[in-house]
């Protein structure tokens, strides 16, 4: 801890030296600037509601300001969906704030291409030995680093109710898809909803289902290959993966209102013990642990192996998050302050607090004793192998097509083959 901090001090001193004499000014967007000795930085994020992650993040900002009275961080908290609209509008008018929360991959690339944010490579050594290159990778575009990840989120865990599975004669999630289908039938036979699903928002089947199920079939390089024109969505293995989703929908593995519930409502079916399983991301971990009475009854597994698949049967799709990028217009004293903020924000204290809130972190630090067993279990799962999440890898218009297409497949208005052809057409058009 101590050495870490002192290293960040050295780093910021070094960057200060470098920038000394560089002309100051360069008034950032949104009316930020330096007042006398105090530097003011605007910072947009999505920390609106009182979740453990948001509380910890806000506290970390407060802590930073207490320790650095010469820097003032002016936050604007905007709810997630609205945040995206606002950032896109302001980016179009080239008026981003000094610091802005960013999402990896597909959402980050356009910001980089438009030269709206700047790399943070100068300060990366702050996290030497704490955050691995793998964890940094999501926020890396063409070899330059644009943000530091706070948390790592597996998007595709199979949560299950141990008692309900035991009643059907199972101790855990079966290892193969064929056995898994049998489990679904057995659960149906005893009158339970096998898997709760709330796909009204359309992204769940993509983020929590195809990202991992697709990986089981195609392996982890498939999407990159498709985007590079070296593979196609019409690949038999991809189609088989989509057929798995289609098959689960057809065999009524889900609650029949799965297209009218959202991802918050579907969790309630699992908590209320109406559904035996739920395939969802780690974001549900905290809320579930908080809501259920008996944590010992909560099992967490991964989607089973699919016969004929090329992927690692233990891989789980995962993505890192809560990165903060620096506006490309920032320079001089303000840039220095922004860098200092990142260095001190992503601290050991912050990561520890996140883990206490059942959030898996991107940093390699010791799990506190107070962390829940469920968190330890998830952390064990993702230590094996992670796979890319679709919406963090492919461009946004393709993500939209995958989202709505999977929903159509699930209600039988689109076949997996047609779906694959539609996607490939979009890829071909952009190549």
């Amino acid at each position: 801890m101590k050495s870490w901090k002192s290293r960040s001090l050295v780093a910021s001193a070094a960057s200060a030296m470098l920038l000394l004499g560089a002309c100051s000014g360069g008034d950032g967007a949104s009316g930020s600037g330096s007042n006398g000795d105090q530097v003011e930085l605007t910072f947009w994020n999505i920390w609106t509601e009182a979740s453990p992650q948001n509380e910890a993040s806000k506290a970390a900002v407060e802590r930073f300001m207490e320790e650095n009275p010469d820097i003032k961080i002016v936050q604007e908290n905007i709810a997630h969906d609205q945040f995206k609209v606002k950032v896109k509008t302001q980016a179009a008018g080239r008026q981003l704030p000094d610091l802005v929360q960013v999402w990896p991959g597909a959402e980050l690339t356009p910001l980089v291409d438009g030269e709206l944010i700047q790399p943070i490579d100068d300060i990366l050594d702050t996290w030497d030995g704490v955050i691995s290159d793998t964890m940094f990778a999501d926020y890396n575009v063409d070899g330059a680093q644009y943000a530091v990840p706070a948390n790592v989120t597996p998007t595709s865990l199979v949560y299950y109710n141990k008692d309900m599975l035991a009643e059907a004669g199972y101790e855990e999630i079966p290892a193969t898809y064929d056995e898994f289908k049998q489990l679904i039938e057995d659960l149906k036979a005893q009158g339970d909803i096998p898997i709760t699903l709330g796909n009204k928002g359309q992204w769940l089947l993509q983020s929590s289902y195809i990202s991992t199920i697709g990986d089981r079939m195609t392996g982890s390089d498939f999407l990159q290959d498709v985007l590079a024109g070296e593979a196609e969505f019409t690949d038999e293995r991809f189609i088989t993966a989509v057929e798995v989703i289609q098959e689960m929908a057809e065999m009524e593995a889900f609650n029949n209102d799965f297209n009218t519930l959202d991802n918050i409502q579907h969790r309630e079916l699992f908590v209320a013990k109406e559904a035996a399983m739920m395939i969802d991301g780690a974001w549900s971990l905290g809320p579930i642990v908080e809501a259920i009475e008996d944590e010992g009854n909560l099992g967490i597994g991964v989607f089973p192996e699919i016969e004929g698949g090329d992927g690692d049967p233990e891989a789980v799709s995962a993505v890192t998050g809560t990165g903060i990028a620096i506006n490309s217009e920032l320079e001089g004293k303000e840039l220095e302050a922004a860098q200092k903020f990142l260095q001190e924000f992503y601290s050991e204290d912050y990561y520890t607090e996140l883990m206490e809130g059942d959030i898996l972190v991107a940093a390699d630090i010791e799990t506190p004793d107070s962390a829940s067993d469920a968190l330890k279990r998830v952390s064990e799962i993702i230590s094996k192998k992670t796979a890319p999440v679709y919406d963090a890898t492919v461009p946004v218009d393709l993500t939209d097509a995958i989202n709505s297409g999977l929903q159509e497949v699930s209600i039988g208005t689109l076949t997996p083959e047609e779906f694959a052809e539609n996607l490939q057409r979009i890829v071909d058009n952009s190549l």
Binding site: P110, D113, G114, G201, D257, N259, D400, S404, E408
Partner: protein, 293 residues
Amino acid sequence: MDTVSKTKWPIIVGMAPALLIYLVFAIVPILISFYYSTMSWNGFSDMEFIGLANFREALGDPIFWQSLKNNLYVVAASVFGQVPIALFFALLLNRKLKGGKIFRTIGFMPVVISTVIISLVWGMMYNSRNGLFNQLLGAVGLESWAQNWLGDPKWAMISVCITIIWQFIGLYLIIFLAGLQNIPDELYEAAEIDGASGFKKTLNITLPMMKETIIVAVILCISGSLRTFDLIYVMTSGGPGHSTEVLAMYMFDQTFSSTRFGYGSTLSIFIFIFSLGLVYLATLILRRKSAAD
């Protein structure tokens, strides 16, 4: 009033403030947006002029046509649902009634209430597992009529339309109530001396006198329906599939989710053109019908 020369300056002075604000803050932005429609632009990088490519793409885009079709359902539901029901209740409420004010206030409630609430309540009533509608059908022995109202593409649009009708009756209710105040009492008095019954009075006096107001309501219905967004966005997000996708929503998603600003602008031009055509058609029909009276 033909004293044009004398009133020229008052007219200019009187029109100027409204015209100026409207021009700068509504027309200029929409013209800029129309300009974007000839561009390929993701909002982050530089724009690129692509001529009419966006328009060609829209014409060949099945989701665009699907949204238009759904949108026409909304227009039909609003014009033939909201307007007659609102007129009916306006006539009922346009009399001295004990508690009239309470009924008028409650009738307006759905217009006031947040779409989030409307979507939650109606979503629960439509729910296929334990929703009110399916339970009612079950209670009267019609289980076989039970449907997955919002989850089945065959039913989703109909269900959404019913909620939309319900949502905006109150809006037309107050427009009609205000319109009814414009009918001079003398007309009714004369009719009553002639011994006309309440129903006859409605048919022969009220409805013809309300013609202009009805046209206003129909035009507001059409323009409002073609821009409908909020409720469907919260209630179904356009799904399942694209079965409840409407134009304004598709435009919004293309613009802010797929970040295709140029294509989104193109879609908004189409919305504008369709509304214009429909409004023109409706005025033509309504005016001719009334001319025949």
